[in-house]
Point group: C2
Chain length 156, copies 2
DNA sequence: CATATGGCCGGATTTTATGCGGATTTATGT
DNA sequence: ACATAAATCCGCATAAAATCCGGCCATATG
């Protein structure tokens, strides 16, 4: 499956996932290659879709997004339009970080970051509950973020 | 609250969150500042803890992590050691991307990426269920990732 | 009013990215 | 096995970017 990339490629991906702004010279030094060869590999990994992009990791606490909540949403299984409508609404709400269609007891699992409980109430009432077809929601406020790596494990 | 950063700082943060590898020269051009002044601000934002780091966004599908699952975990409320043990175990399992202590019907919400259902069964039985004090788990496999931005909204 | 402070700019210097040619290895087909 | 093609590597040269430094201007401060 992913055997078109070798041990060196995986090392590059691990390094870049950990520090996306590392200079190519330093990256090359770490993995034991010349800068040219290293850059060549990074370009190939990008072209082949292994690397999707780069981003800064920001501090939610300092940016008025200190409250993390998960919301389970159950829809009325009436029309596909209800699902479509929900997806669209959730997509352009900036406080929604993730939204997944899941198999199991409910339909959608939403992960959102808001300023505080008041902001969450506004989000719940103003966005989620005002959508047509939303039958039921369960909210889980996060008390402690035990782990938030977001990294994908790359076997050696 | 966060009014020690101005409109320009927020613009910088937005840009860097979207493209963490943008050259400082280009970033400066976008926000309408000289490269020197721009770099100064980025350094300050980093020093003051707004920017925590940088990372490459990798493609899970191509890296043997195509199955995303959420697991609700309910613990026996016996000892703090049980909680501590659970946190430690979850922290060093590489397939676990996130783990949150939540308020509500269960204790921990775990987000993990694994190769496939077989890998998930191994993870569930070999890691989660073999921990002491785990009373109950509910698994939700993700069928469709509607949104996975991971970005924090920064108001203008 | 004089001075200090902070933020910005432009130019000089160091560091990095990138393009190119050639050598070596690996894969492929006969 | 052999020849050819493709991939990968390196070192060097050049273009581009990061970083340092001095000076300018605005705002605050005594």
């Amino acid at each position: 499956m992913n055997l078109d990339i070798d041990r060196i490629d995986r090392k590059i991906l691990r390094e870049l996932q950990d520090d996306g702004r590392i200079a190519n010279v330093d990256l090359a030094k770490r993995i034991g290659l010349s800068p040219t060869a290293c850059l060549e590999r990074v370009k190939r990994l990008t072209r082949d879709g292994y690397i999707l992009g780069y981003g800064a990791r920001l501090n939610p606490e300092k940016l008025s997004a200190g409250l993390l909540v998960f919301v389970e949403v159950l829809l009325d299984r009436t029309t596909p339009e209800v699902f479509e409508r929900f997806k669209l609404a959730v997509t352009d709400r900036p406080e929604v970080q993730e939204c997944h269609l899941v198999a199991g007891g409910f339909d959608y699992l939403v992960k959102a970051r808001v300023r505080d409980m008041k902001a969450y109430r506004d989000f719940l009432a103003g966005t989620l509950l005002s959508l047509p077809g939303v039958r039921e929601t369960h909210t889980y406020a996060v008390m402690e973020e035990v782990k938030e790596s977001g990294t994908i494990h790359i076997p050696p």
